[in-house]
């Protein structure tokens, strides 16, 4: 019985490790093609960082960094052109949102219309803390 239990633990541990390893590896896929790379490595890294935060509008849950859609490629090239022309990150994001709206950003910006989105986790966290505190107090009294 004990041995069986040990075997179960071993298998469980192995599956867990494989899942975690898989999760770290699969995040590395990207669609940037060799001819798109900028010569300046610093600029290329900036382009990659921006691309990771820009949504591909054709396949909506992928960033343009991961998507091989033709619009994603166009956007990657435009971002790189803008970087070599000396645009700042902020100006590049503005260029994109002026045309496609905030939806093109994978991380929604903090605005009046999105305040609830950003504040809700904190509000829920404090409610949970408060509930926990009240609950503890009550059980101590008992």
């Amino acid at each position: 019985m004990i041995q069986k239990n040990l075997l179960f633990h071993k298998v469980f541990f192995l599956v867990l490790m494989m899942t975690l390893a898989g999760a770290t590896v699969s995040n590395n896929s990207y669609a940037v093609e060799p001819e798109e790379f900028l010569k300046d490595q610093k600029q290329e890294l900036r382009a990659r960082d921006i691309s990771k935060n820009v949504r591909c509008l054709v396949c909506q849950n992928q960033s343009i960094d991961e998507s091989s859609a033709s619009l994603a490629k166009d956007l990657r090239i435009i971002i790189r052109n803008k970087i070599t022309e000396g645009f700042t990150d902020k100006e590049i994001y503005k260029f994109l949102t002026d045309r496609y709206g905030d939806f093109i950003l994978l991380k929604p910006p903090l605005k009046v219309s999105t305040v609830i989105l950003w504040a809700l986790p904190f509000i829920l966290f404090f409610i949970a803390l408060f509930v926990l505190y009240r609950h503890n107090k009550k059980s101590k009294l008992r």
């Binding site: 509008l57 166009d74 002026d98």
Partner: protein, 177 residues
Amino acid sequence: MRKYFLSAPLIIFFCMMLVFFYFLIVKRDPSELPSVLINQKTPMFETTTLFDNKPFIFEEESGQQVLVVNFFATWCIPCREEHPYISKLSKEKNITVIGVNYKDDSQKTIQWLNELGNPYSKVAVDSNGRIGLDWGVYGLPETFIVNENNIILYKQVGPITNEKYDDFIMHIEDSIK
């Protein structure tokens, strides 16, 4: 009261579930995104025309009447499906349809229009997709209604089909008023 308060997280959780469930069952197309260009000035552009390769300056075409600007391509299958309705639209009174040929082969497009008929008053060439990008185009076909003050009033993403035709005409009539 205290007991009621303790169940707050559960209530909030169920409210959120209800909201998610509502969005799951409600009839909507997640690929249709609201355009930020609605009620904004049209992006201006200069390019060439498809048939005679002459300069095409959008500013010269717009500003006199309500325009319908249709982004299309021969490689886009829904564009072919939409074509009869664009033709029908072009025959309506007071409607001028301008085509923008998006990332396409010009020779193929000329052939395509000769075969199916050319409903456009002019066809502008957008060979690298830059005009489309300025107009916020992300999936063909896309059709814009532009009023005489060069303001985009409506955008239809996806083909204008039989079901959508009357609705589209209504939007044009609204912009003429």
